[in-house]
């Protein structure tokens, strides 16, 4: 390995090792496994097949751990890898260095891979420990727990590392778009395989990046009905025996897992080749027809301007400020206005409500991420109103914006005596802004709140205002 790649890998690992978040990430999967995996005779389970709980064996446990990782850990791992620690790279001096971008990409990727392998190892140890608690000791087989878990979870985890390297290579995906793309990719990988026909063989296994469907469905009828995460368990139904070993050893499955690993290993090469340097600021010219979105020229200063005096209503001023800053930029304001107007014509629960939430998610997390940065926080702490006042005003402002965007829908419904949209808009606005500011304050950035809220938005959309 080149000295450049080695140095990048070593410095990245050192930086991960010195951050507190690492220990949280190492603990997430083991702790979640404890709550998501059902012992024998349990009445709920992370996976159920046609209303039946799977009978717990070592390979089944390995597979269930794989499901925990695919559903829960992938987005968390992505957030963590993209968090402040390694996003703050000294690119100002790295990019003009003679070091090869491909070597740098591989170095960082290897560090991320080693970190995720550590997470997987911790989950394996936890799995063996859980097996000893939940199963007769002589049936505990650490080898099968390890083999199924790693066969299922290693490729998607490697892919998370690869995507994060790839998204760091281009200007657009370094920012919010990268989170959206990952979210789409992750949801897509789950939806694709759940909607598939559970066929066996290499091609079917290749469609299943998360890798748990083939071992799960092996030897079951095509019409079996899987649910993941809180499915209905038929009372009194017997446990179902799953042939996970058959699924893992089925022809094509392991070959497909290795193919996915190989694809993941090629992504850093692509990232190195398409790398675009950072820019200090905006360099692209705004096309003429979008000129009205630009802030325009500054007004000349008035030489007779006097010193500003404290406002009479500081709280109200703060609230107005927060509204203005969340809805900042003409593009955001135009979009919000469009949603508010569309409310006259489109149904609230299925169309304008989710649209309003999506806009609020982006606008609120961007502003929350900006204001919760360490340096700025130190400055605002010295101000007249405390950061807590600003945070409260932020939540109020977010709620008011949600109400404003939903005004038409709420009005229509209220006239028909239906308060549901009002309550929904209130809950959506308050919940979104509260989550945005809390997560932004905890993580000092916009990435985590945005990804978490996008996942919440997905559930809001698929819930569509209730049954």
């Amino acid at each position: 390995m080149s000295a450049v790649a080695l140095s990048c890998a070593r410095t990245s690992l050192t930086r991960y090792g010195r951050s507190a978040g690492l220990w949280i990430l190492l603990l997430v999967a083991p702790v979640a496994a404890r709550f998501m995996i059902a012992g024998r005779g349990a009445h709920n389970s992370v996976i159920s097949v046609s209303g039946q709980v799977p009978w717990l064996t070592s390979p089944v446990l390995g597979m269930e751990l794989g499901v925990v990782i695919a559903t829960l850990l992938l987005p968390l791992a992505f957030i963590y890898l993209r968090s402040n620690i390694t996003r703050r790279q000294p690119w100002q001096v790295e990019e003009p260095s003679p070091g090869s971008r491909i070597a740098i990409a591989y170095g960082r990727w290897l560090a991320d891979l080693a970190l995720l392998a550590g997470v997987l190892a911790a989950t394996t140890v936890a799995g063996v420990f859980l097996a000893m608690l939940m199963m007769p000791l002589r049936e505990v087989d650490p080898l099968w727990i390890t083999l199924t878990l790693w066969a299922i979870a290693a490729p998607p985890l490697a892919m998370v590392a690869s995507l994060r390297i790839l998204f760091d290579a281009r200007r657009w995906t370094r920012g919010a778009l990268g989170e959206v793309l990952f979210f789409v990719f992750w949801m897509g990988s789950l939806v694709l395989v759940m909607a598939g026909d559970h066929a066996q063989g290499y091609a079917a296994a290749m469609a299943d990046l998360d890798g748990f469907m083939s071992p799960l469905a092996h030897g079951l009828h095509g019409d079996s009905n899987f649910t993941i995460g809180g499915g209905e368990i038929t009372a009194g139904a017997p446990a179902i025996h799953l042939d996970v070993i058959g699924g893992v050893l089925n022809d094509g499955y392991l070959a497909a897992r290795l193919t996915w690993l190989a694809i993941a290993a090629l992504v850093p090469l692509a990232a190195g080749l398409v790398h675009l340097p950072h820019v200090v600021g905006k360099t692209r010219k705004t096309p003429g027809w979008l000129k009205f979105l630009e802030p325009g020229a500054a007004k000349p200063a008035d030489p007779k301007a006097r010193e500003a005096r404290p406002g009479a209503l500081p709280w109200l001023t703060l609230l107005a400020c927060e509204i203005r800053l969340i809805a900042s930029g003409r593009l955001t304001r135009l979009a919000m206005l469009a949603v508010a107007i569309a409310g006259w014509f489109l149904p609230y629960a299925k169309a304008t409500g989710p649209a309003a939430m999506l806009l609020l998610v982006f606008a609120a997390t961007a502003h929350a991420g900006r204001t919760e940065q360490g340096g700025l926080l130190a400055l605002t702490r010295t101000g007249f109103l405390s950061p807590w006042a600003r945070r409260i005003a932020f939540v109020a402002a977010g709620t008011l914006l949600a109400l404003a965007m939903s005004g038409a829908g709420i009005g229509h419904a209220l006239m028909a005596g239906d308060t549901a949209p009002l309550i929904q808009a209130l809950a959506m606005g308050a919940g979104t802004s509260l989550a945005a500011i809390t997560l932004a304050a905890l993580t000092r950035g916009a990435t985590t709140p945005r990804l978490v809220l996008l996942i919440a938005w997905y559930f809001y959309l698929s819930w569509g205002g209730g049954p």
Partner: protein
């Protein structure tokens, strides 16, 4: 390695940001020795250094390194470049020494020699005692000295230094001037500054960036 003097030539270099023309067709040949760039804040000094350090591409015009035009000669230039930008997002969790070794690896230097040289450089800028302290614990001036020290790693024949002595006390400033003057004996050193102190006397040229143009200025003329 040849012992001919390094040359850097700018030919009609223009840099625009949107509609704003920051540098307008600048032509100049830089030779061995210390060149100071002065000029009012916002005139384009940092922009010019970014172009020279290949951190950005000119909108129009060309750079020539040792007679070869960029981008063909870009990697040749980068192998001999030391660059200290005005601000760097430093990896806060690393120690100064770890950061220096990482930069040395990116420059393709031998690890053990780079370690020895970086120790010497840290001592030169007065950071020897804090070499194993996390960058997160460094003050603003200490960070600036660290950024300066990493630029000197290897034997750069082109040094682009963006206000290396801003925010520093006079003692630190003199240490840095001594290192700059020594480097300028064999390298092209281009340095921006607002101050008309110490180095001005040793400078081979003082240039002024203003209104998109690069013009010779009297030595010691402050912005």
């Amino acid at each position: 390695m040849t012992d001919t003097s390094p040359t850097l030539r700018l030919e009609g270099v223009t840099r625009r940001y949107g509609r704003k023309v920051v540098l307008d067709g600048i032509s100049h040949s830089f030779t061995k020795g210390l060149t100071l760039l002065t000029g009012p804040s916002g005139a384009g000094k940092s922009t010019l250094l970014r172009l020279i350090a290949t951190a950005e591409k000119p909108t129009a015009g060309r750079l020539h390194w040792n007679g070869e035009p960029l981008p063909a000669a870009r990697s040749a230039l980068r192998r001999e470049l030391g660059y200290a930008p005005q601000a760097v997002e430093l990896p806060m969790e690393l120690t100064a020494r770890e950061f220096g070794l990482h930069m040395a690896a990116l420059k393709g230097l031998r690890a053990n020699e780079a370690d020895a040289q970086f120790r010497l450089l840290l001592e030169g800028v007065g950071l020897a005692a804090d070499a194993n302290g996390r960058i997160a614990t460094y003050s603003g001036g200490m960070r600036r000295r660290l950024i300066f020290a990493q630029a000197l790693l290897g034997a750069p024949r082109l040094l682009a230094l963006d206000e290396p002595t801003a925010e520093l006390d006079s003692e630190s400033r003199e240490r840095i001037h001594a290192l700059i003057n020594r480097a300028a004996q064999s390298a092209i050193v281009i340095m921006t500054t607002h101050l008309s102190d110490g180095v001005a006397a040793a400078a081979t040229a003082v240039l002024r960036v203003e209104a998109g143009a690069l013009t010779p200025a009297r030595a010691g003329l402050a912005a």
